[in-house]
């Protein structure tokens, strides 16, 4: 697809990219700049609740995210997420409210302050989907300055990206291809393995640590068996359990894993020739040096 006008989105960064995964925020900024994608950051957007709001009250999840979506509507832009969980939650709320009875929409609107009004006119899509659907893989390929030749990448999609919403899905949840298509466009080699569509265990990590770590270990082991050089994820919550807590996972299983986990824009940034420091590749708990070494950097 040829892009005729500059792409512009209402950017919903999410909590983790501004907290424990700053490198995601940095690399998204660097990559979108290099690709000529303009982002208008929604600075008064609230946390989507990551699925937890719904357990307190479904109305809470719907109302807070109706406000978030209304902020993108007010900009007249499609909302861009960069987190599988944010995408699944916002996408699901949007499709639910778009299809809901007027009475429920009115109830939501009555809760929002007068400045915000949810119309259901904005679309919300993950950066991965935007690259595929709006930017186009051919255009991305044309921007590659440093093909990631020989780098074996294992995708880790995140549950909410594959199964969170019913409408507007890009991938078949059983056999997704979008990340693999991006890897190929960047010159890397996609690695097929079972764990890529499964759960990382993050939601259990605060109160059932043993099982959260067992789940992470299983996934990483599956990727190691498939001879992956790194995992690549569009979900910073997966990153927290798979990278930040990998030393604890290793301790729990009594074995070294040493599997680097990259955020999707970091991988793209490497192929675009962006400096690794600008992509925050030094800010990982598991060293990303083996990945850089594989690329001769």
């Amino acid at each position: 697809m040829t892009t005729t006008k500059p792409l512009k989105y209402a950017y919903y960064p999410g909590c983790v990219s501004r907290g424990a995964c700053r490198e995601l925020y940095l690399s998204t900024a660097a990559v979108t700049k290099a690709l000529g994608i303009e982002l208008v950051e929604l600075k008064s957007a609230a946390c989507c609740g990551a699925g937890t709001f719904k357990e307190d009250s479904e109305l809470l999840q719907d109302a807070v995210n109706a406000r978030n979506l209304a902020l993108a509507e007010a900009e007249g832009l499609t909302m861009m997420t960069q987190c599988s969980t944010c995408q699944g939650v916002l996408g699901r709320v949007n499709e639910k409210l778009q299809a809901s009875e007027p009475a429920y929409r009115e109830r939501i609107d009555a809760l929002l302050t007068t400045e915000h009004h949810y119309n259901g006119t904005a679309d919300v899509r993950h950066m991965l989907w935007i690259l595929l659907q709006d930017y186009g893989l051919d255009n991305l390929k044309a921007k590659v300055k440093r093909p990631l030749t020989g780098l074996r990448c294992a995708s880790f999609y995140g549950c909410y990206l594959l199964r969170g919403q019913q409408s507007g899905r890009v991938d078949d949840p059983v056999n997704p291809k979008s990340l693999e298509q991006v890897f190929t466009a960047l010159g890397a080699t996609p690695v097929e393995y079972r764990g890529r569509t499964r759960c990382c265990g993050f939601p259990l990590s605060s109160y059932d640590t043993k099982n959260a770590f067992a789940m992470a270990a299983l996934r990483i082991d599956e990727a190691i068996e498939a001879e992956a050089d790194c995992l690549v994820t569009p979900c910073p919550l997966c990153h927290l359990n798979l990278d930040s807590r990998q030393p604890e996972v290793e301790k729990a299983i009594g074995r070294r894993l040493g599997m680097p986990v990259l955020h999707l824009p970091q991988l793209i940034g490497l192929a675009l020739g962006i400096e690794s420091a600008q992509l925050g590749l030094g800010q990982h708990i598991v060293s990303t040096r083996p990945v850089l070494a594989r690329l001769g950097l």
Binding site: C15, V16, R18, G19, A20, R22, K43, S44, A45, A46, C47, G49, A50, G51, T52, F53, K54, E55, D56, S57, E58, L59, L60, A63, V64, R67, G88, L111, L112, T113, H116, C159, Y160, L162, R163, G164, P173, V174, N175, R198, C199, G201, F202, P203, L204, S206, Y207, D208, N211, A214, M215, L218, S244, R245, P247, E248, G282, Q283, H284, I285
Partner: protein, 327 residues
């Protein structure tokens, strides 16, 4: 996707690649080719294979009508009912359909799995309206259409095992009771005829019950009856969170702190989040110290937390929702 044209009544050749295994022997794959009438289900095909090509192929079947739940299996990697899946709808571009047994249960033979744990876990949630409540001699139990409606969705479960097969938590935790049992558990706590609600909630308030789910959506994705087990699990969690009688565990505290923090600043302050969730557990905090240090050294632990712009709007909104929804 191939769509058959029933007007032409043309049969099509499909290759079924079937996983064969007896007990713990190594698994093999065997391919059976057969001509199928348009509209034939995967179960029709397997039955035809068994009758005409290979009598040793083992799979369960009974009603052929998506009622009994016997013919659950993985079709092209996704748990489904063979009787409710038309072969023409799932055949791939090579003309092939992959048939495998359910996951999370040991194989007895071919597509037949041992469902003993599945039933054991269902029993653990006590899936019966409590008998004590039956001792009302005067009249029958009354239930309004509204009360009944709350039980409909989880009541549609046919116990086929598709959700259990794909459950991420069940895969790593053999003690986790699974989505089928928790969907039933919700049906029990919501049933106005049952008089054990408090006891039930106490039992479900554990990591092997309601808190064991990772919200991966796999159960909702495969359920052939629209039970949406995850939806039911989330409704149990809502009841647990709003109970004033249950002691607060870490799972509950995690959720309450998250909502409170977003109410205060519009988004999550991860460092304070950890401190507040584990405020009452010095050992847990100590165990997190190495993680905290590693995060700090890598610049992954911001020491300052700035509220989002216009955060007071979010505070007002959350308060308004609570007032609306809790009352």
């Amino acid at each position: 996707m191939l769509v058959h044209d029933s007007a032409k009544k043309k049969s099509m050749e499909i290759a079924f690649r079937v996983r064969r295994q007896t007990g713990n022997d190594p698994a093999t794959y065997q391919t059976y080719k057969l001509d199928l009438e348009p509209g034939a289900t995967v179960l029709d095909a397997l039955t035809q294979i068994k009758w005409e090509q290979d009598g040793t192929l083992a799979f369960r079947k009974n009603c052929r009508n998506a009622i009994c739940g016997s013919c659950g299996m993985r079709i092209n990697g996704k748990a489904a009912l063979a009787c409710a899946t038309r072969a023409a709808d799932v055949v791939d571009e090579r003309g092939e359909i992959l048939i495998q047994p359910f996951g999370n249960m040991p194989v007895i033979k071919d597509i037949v799995v041992d469902m003993q744990d599945f039933w054991k876990h269902l029993d653990q949630v006590e899936p019966y309206v409590s008998t004590a409540a039956r001792n009302t001699p005067e009249k029958e139990f009354l239930q309004t259409p509204e009360q009944r409606e709350k039980l409909e969705q989880s009541g549609n479960c046919i116990l086929c095992g598709a959700c259990y097969s794909e459950c991420n938590s069940r895969e790593i935790n053999p003690e986790f009771v699974g989505p089928h049992a928790l969907a039933k558990a919700y049906r029990m706590v919501e049933d106005n005829r049952d008089d054990q609600t408090e006891k039930r909630l106490e039992r479900y308030n554990q990591p092997d019950y309601a808190w064991g789910c990772t919200r991966c959506f796999s159960c909702d994705e495969v359920c052939p009856m629209g039970v949406q087990p995850l939806e039911q699990i989330q409704k149990i969690r809502t009841k647990l969170l709003h109970s004033r009688k249950l002691p607060e565990n870490t799972a509950m505290r995690h959720r309450r702190v998250l909502v409170a923090q977003i109410r205060n600043s519009g988004w999550l302050d991860e460092t304070r989040f950890a401190l507040e969730v584990f405020a009452k557990s010095p050992e847990a905090l100590l165990a997190l110290a190495p993680l905290g240090l590693r995060m700090l050294l890598k610049g992954k632990m911001p020491l300052r937390h700035h509220p989002i712009d216009n955060f007071a709007e979010v505070t007002t909104l959350i308060d308004a929702v609570h007032q609306d929804d809790y009352n």
